[in-house]
């Protein structure tokens, strides 16, 4: 919402400065988004007299002028054809910024002749597109007079943001009322004109709405003015409209715009000669077409309201008038319309047709239902004043939908809710200044809400009014009450797990990424079938909610590798989407290891491997508190099918029990790698922290450390096992061979080749035995060894290697 200071002062009698006004507006909730002060913008440019203008010695089209300026006599080389001795021009000194050409002037030498500054055109001042010559002003103003003063460019334009609740401030008068309440002046009295209608309007008004849609238009009024002469509107109207960026068109049109900006009351004018019979509001017919004022034709739905006459739809109610019935220079009889339309329906229509208009902006937020007749009278008076003519009597249909809302209010609520100590009298007088009327001798008072304040609902709204006007600075800053002592822990188990997991993964050398939760539909399809796709995606790359974190990381890896910034070590923690319910949006973690580490002089190159991914997944699970000792690995070797994202033979699940998967790891499937344009090897893992079991409740106390005075004993075995037997099967058998004595089993070599039968491997394991109470005797050690060998044979078909 834009307006000029002068315009504001036509409603507000104030001595406040521009800065004070802006500060008050922002503080009370009408945030100033910008102020353009032409006096400041044009401060450098002053009146100058050209004493002499002679042809440049070396250029036919240039003149060397001697100019009387605020800085004394200056020589200025000028290319304008109209530069001549005796003219009154505008001088731009060296150092001035000339907005139209975006140049800061410096002393120049033009074809060998020195030039100190510039004489400017209107276009160079951004005043118009005029650039046929320099500004040629009427004689009179003294040398040095600011150009802005001479041209009357002294009225600052203020641009404020209006929150959707404040429809009352979509007119300059509403803003003035606000400032008056804030103590920045007095609201000037406003007298409605009295229109003496002569003769009938030549037509009746109808409101023809089906049951259930009566709200579309509750009141519609209009009046004919006969014998008008439409031409340009007065200068002061044009100047104000121009200043706020609304192009003046003709007096009749400018009047409707002016009343809209001045008082927040949208209106429409029809050329009465182009109307057929009665006029009014009805629902559009499906597919009905209207040629609107913006010269576009719109196809409407039967949920939209139109202004219509007997010939058909004339305009889109509350949104935009129609072209065929619009006024022109030759209009002699004008029909002025003032009506009220349903905010929700108007907004819906505007969005549906993609029309933003000043009328929609106001109707959508709710116009004053008690100002419909007033708006008609004001516009009528302006038409008579600007264009002459004779007004008819007003015609109307329906009744204005007055709200007649009142709120019980205890001024002490201001203290309780806003923490602001305001005397009851002061609170009530603030409300009165804003247009509220108050009944009652004591609290609770009955506060009657003015019809222009549809946003006021209950007592809390009145508290806000008082607080706004009083200023939020007056609200004391009070610390939140807090219990004595140290703050308690607040994080949940799940949250602590995520924090630990995140920092552990970063500790492994992985960089945390945050990627978009919506991805390409095709990418999502590679990870699942039940994907959630948006109805109104912002781009085709962001249509579908990710079913996995991997596609986002793989795309990021591909971009990084293509830029040559590999190898890539990324992880992400975020929600994935298997459905729309809260349960179907679990928090997961994923990591990728893409591209080999740089070759090192000690260890050579390290390529990403399935086991690196497994190690990372285990480290993450351990950090999150998973019982990693109890996990079992599932993969092709155990007969498990893996998701298609992974290499089927080089991937696995880490599960707790047969069904609960806590993490998945492996090499990328070559087909998926190709789909993401990845040629480097990629190992990856996904971690499902929500599947972790809750730990057994335990206090901070630990169990006592076992006293183990005796040295552990290590025994090495080499077993021949079939390749198809999972190593984990053998290891579990070994650990179970003597649960009391065996504390650890580790694989220290794995060999296949000469000396080992076909389809077999040799696994060398070191078993650690812990004696308790007494050292192992030779017999005891032999017995344990025998149990180990027997268990290996029984569970894994393993043979002790000779």
């Amino acid at each position: 919402m834009k307006f000029t200071l002068d315009w504001l002062r036509s409603h507000l009698d104030t001595t406040a400065s521009l800065d004070e006004i802006c500060e008050a507006l922002t503080a009370s909730g009408l945030e100033v988004e910008g102020v353009e002060d032409p006096a400041a913008k044009f401060a450098a440019f002053t009146i100058a007299h050209v004493k002499q203008a002679v042809k440049h010695p070396d250029a036919d089209k240039l003149r060397v002028c001697t100019v009387d300026t605020i800085d004394g006599e200056k020589q200025i080389v000028c290319g304008a054809p109209n530069a001549r001795a005796g003219m009154t021009a505008v001088y731009a000194p060296v150092g001035a910024y000339v907005p139209g050409i975006d140049v800061t002037l410096t002393k120049a030498k033009i074809r060998g002749v020195e030039s100190f500054g510039m004489l400017v055109s209107e276009r160079e001042m951004q005043l118009s597109d005029e650039h046929d010559g320099i500004m040629d002003l009427d004689a009179g103003p003294a040398v040095g007079t600011p150009m802005a003063d001479v041209l009357g460019l002294t009225d600052p334009v203020i641009d404020i943001a209006i929150t959707p609740d404040r429809a009352d401030c979509l007119g300059v008068r509403g803003i003035a009322r606000e400032l008056a309440a804030k103590g920045l002046g007095t609201l000037r009295p406003f007298t409605l004109p009295t229109i003496e209608g002569q003769g009938d309007a030549g037509r009746s008004i109808f409101i023809d709405l089906p049951d259930g849609k009566e709200d579309a238009c509750r009141y519609f009024t209009g009046r004919l003015v006969r014998g008008v002469k439409n031409g340009p509107s007065p200068d002061w109207v044009q100047k104000r409209l121009n200043a706020i960026g609304s192009k003046p068109i003709s007096a009749l049109v400018d009047i409707t715009n002016y009343v809209s900006f001045d008082l927040g009351r949208p209106l429409h004018v029809f050329d009465a000669a182009k109307l057929t019979g009665d006029i009014g509001a009805r629902m559009a017919k499906a597919e009905e077409e209207v040629e609107a004022l913006n010269e576009k034709t719109y196809t409407l739905t039967n949920e939209m309201t139109v202004i219509a006459d007997q010939s058909g739809a004339l305009g889109i109610a509350g949104v935009m008038g129609g072209m065929p019935s619009s006024v022109t220079e030759s209009t002699t009889d004008v029909f002025i319309e003032s009506a009220i339309f349903d905010p929700a329906r108007t907004g819906h229509t505007g969005r549906g047709l993609a029309i933003d208009s000043d009328a929609r902006y106001r109707f959508e937020r709710g116009v004053d239902p008690d100002f419909i007749d007033a708006g008609l009278d004001i516009a009528t008076q302006m038409v008579i004043d600007f264009c002459g003519g004779t007004p008819s009597e007003a015609v109307s249909a329906g009744t204005p939908p007055l709200r007649k809302h009142s709120v019980p209010f205890d001024p002490d609520h201001v203290r309780r809710l806003a923490g602001l100590d305001v005397a009851a009298d002061e609170a009530l007088s603030i409300l009165k200044a804003l247009g509220f009327t108050i009944d009652g001798a004591g609290a609770p008072y009955t506060v009657h809400v003015p019809e222009w304040r549809a946003d006021i609902d209950g007592s809390a709204d009145l508290v806000e009014e008082v607080m706004r006007i009083k200023g939020l600075d007056a609200v004391p800053t009070v610390p939140l009450p807090r219990p004595n002592g140290v703050a308690k822990a607040t994080l949940s188990l799940a949250q602590k797990r995520i924090i630990a997991l995140r920092r552990r993964l970063a500790g492994l050398g992985l960089n945390e990424a945050v990627t978009y939760a919506f991805i390409k539909e095709a990418d999502a399809a590679l990870f699942g079938e039940d994907t959630q796709t948006l109805a109104n995606a912002i781009s085709s790359d962001m249509t579908t909610m990710r079913p996995s974190l991997l596609p986002g990381l793989l795309s990021a890896a591909q971009r990084t590798l293509d830029k040559g910034h590999g190898p890539v070590r990324l992880f992400e923690i975020g929600r994935v989407f298997a459905g729309e319910t809260p349960d179907a949006q679990p928090l997961e973690a994923a990591l990728i290891i893409a591209g080999g580490a740089a070759k090192d002089w000690q260890s050579g190159a390290a390529e990403p491997s399935v086991f690196a991914a497994k190690a990372a997944a285990l480290a993450a699970l351990e950090a999150a508190g998973a019982p990693t000792q109890k996990l079992q690995t599932y993969g092709a070797v155990t007969g498990a099918d893996m998701p298609s994202a992974y290499h089927p033979g080089q991937s696995g699940d880490l599960r707790l029990g047969p069904k609960n998967t806590l993490a998945r790891f492996g090499m990328i499937h070559p087909r998926l790698a190709a789909a993401f344009g990845l040629s480097a090897p990629v190992a990856m893992a996904e971690i499902f922290p929500e599947n972790l079991p809750k730990p057994k409740a335990a206090g901070p106390t630990r169990s006592a450390l076992d006293d183990l005075p005796l040295q552990p004993v290590e025994r090495d075995f080499a077993f021949l096992v079939e390749e198809a037997v999972p190593a984990e099967t053998l290891l579990r058998a070994l650990k179970g061979a003597d649960k009391k004595a065996i504390t650890d089993v580790a694989v220290f070599d794995r060999y296949a080749g000469p000396g080992v039968p076909e389809a077999h491997v040799s696994l060398a394991v070191r078993v650690t035995l812990q004696p308790v109470g007494a050292s192992f005797t030779d017999e005891a050690l032999e017995a344990i060894s025998a149990k180990i060998v027997a268990a290996a044979q029984k569970s894994a078909g393993a043979q002790l290697r000779a």
């Binding site: 009370s28 909730g29 945030e31 929150t163 959707p164 609740d165 404040r166 905010p343 929700a344 937020r365 809710l417 806003a418 923490g419 602001l420 946003d455 609902d457 209950g458 809390a460 709204d461 806000e464 607080m467 706004r468 600075d473 609200v475 004391p476 800053t477 009070v478 939140l480 807090r482 703050a487 308690k488 607040t490 994080l491 949940s492 949250q495 995140r502 920092r503 500790g507 960089n511 990424a513 978009y516 919506f518 959630q532 796709t533 948006l534 962001m542 990381l553 795309s555 990021a556 971009r559 990084t560 910034h565 590999g566 070590r569 990324l570 923690i573 929600r575 989407f577 729309e580 949006q585």
Partner: protein, 357 residues
């Protein structure tokens, strides 16, 4: 007795000339071994008269001791030299680079979320979470944003396809639905922050269609706007690590709070650098207000008994302001160079004791 003194001279010369431990041992055996030259002289003592023995005995004993000592000293010297030689041979080029176990990085958004948890925990706030695919009730209706209110249209909402009953799921446009879920599931007193992802159909240098917000909610008896100011001031001071901060509260409008305000902090853009806490400009950091009675009622709370406040601000924006990123878009590109440059060490866990930056 010149024999003995000559012998000593000769042996000591041999010892000094010995170059290896083996050679030295041979000299020792030749001198004081069983059949050694000194041992042979010692044997002559038995044939001497007691008077002679009294004179020669100590002399020969001294000779044996001197030689033993000389051997030991030489042995020690030779061993020292051998060690020196070994060490010299073992020298390596320590300037060769090593493979370090480099840390990865924590994303600035996660780091700031951890900072928020830490700061607000001190004021008694728990961390609440909620789904990102939401329904219209939690995202709009319960927050007093009716179906056709312009505020609803202003949210640039991402919707999922309409269902048969006409309802639509959506991507939450703010973290405020977590307020609703918390109030519906928990009795006051309530103090929570709700950090998380939010979505709006908007894209330029300072807007991405996905971004992060933190919501705060306090519901207790007797809470008023002054507490809201106090809470936010404490937060801003702790977050930006400032001893004092000039804040400005401006009246504003949010459908779910009444009264509502926007919050600015003093800053300066002088020299193209943003400085928080001083200067002539104001920077908006979020919105806030007292929870609207209608929102309380929608959550089955009695607005006559309880009052509370809510606030929201952008986490990405907080990160940018504090850590100096100027463009929001790379936050979500997953570009490893950016992540390494702007990310944080996993050991840089924000704590009140250790500081929050």
């Amino acid at each position: 007795m010149t024999d003995a003194s000559q012998l000593k001279t000769d042996i000591e010369a041999d010892i000094a000339a010995a170059q290896t431990l083996d050679a030295l041992e041979a000299i020792r055996v030749a001198a004081i071994g069983k059949k050694g030259s000194v041992s042979a002289l010692m044997k002559t003592l038995g044939k001497m008269s007691p008077e002679e023995r009294q004179v020669e005995g100590p002399k020969l004993n001294a000779l044996k001791r001197d030689i033993t000592d000389a051997v030991a000293a030489r042995k020690s010297a030779l061993e020292e030299a051998a060690l020196e030689a070994q060490l010299a041979a073992e020298q390596v080029d320590v300037t060769l680079p090593v493979q370090t176990q480099d840390f990865g990085t924590i994303h600035p958004v996660s780091q700031v979320m951890d900072e928020l948890s830490e700061i607000f925990a001190d004021m008694g706030f728990a961390v609440a979470e909620g789904p990102e695919i939401e329904d219209e009730f939690h995202n709009f209706d319960a927050l007093n944003i009716p179906a056709h209110h312009p505020a609803r249209a202003m949210h640039d909402t991402f919707y999922f396809p309409e269902k048969e009953d006409g309802s639509r799921m959506l991507l939450r446009t703010h973290t405020s639905p977590v307020q609703i879920r918390t109030m519906l599931s928990q009795e006051p007193p309530i103090r929570i922050i709700a950090p998380g992802k939010t979505y709006r159909s908007d894209s330029d240098a300072t807007h991405t269609p996905m971004f992060h917000q933190v919501e705060g909610l306090v519901i207790e008896e007797g809470i008023h706007m002054g507490h809201l100011k106090g809470c936010l001031e404490a937060f801003v001071k702790a977050f930006f690590q400032l001893d004092s901060i000039d804040m400005r509260f401006r009246a504003s409008f949010f459908p779910f709070t009444e009264p509502s305000a926007e919050v600015d902090i003093r800053c300066s853009f002088e020299g193209g650098t943003l400085t928080i806490g001083e200067g002539e400009d104001w920077l908006e950091i979020g919105g806030c207000g007292m929870v609207h009675p209608r929102v309380m009622t929608a959550c089955n709370l009695d607005p006559e008994r309880y009052q509370g406040f809510a606030f929201g601000c952008g986490i990405d924006r907080l990160a940018m302001l504090k850590y100096g990123m100027t463009d929001l878009r790379p936050f979500f590109d997953g570009d490893q160079r950016w992540l390494k440059h702007y990310g944080f060490s996993p050991l840089a866990v924000p704590t009140l004791a250790g500081g929050l930056s």
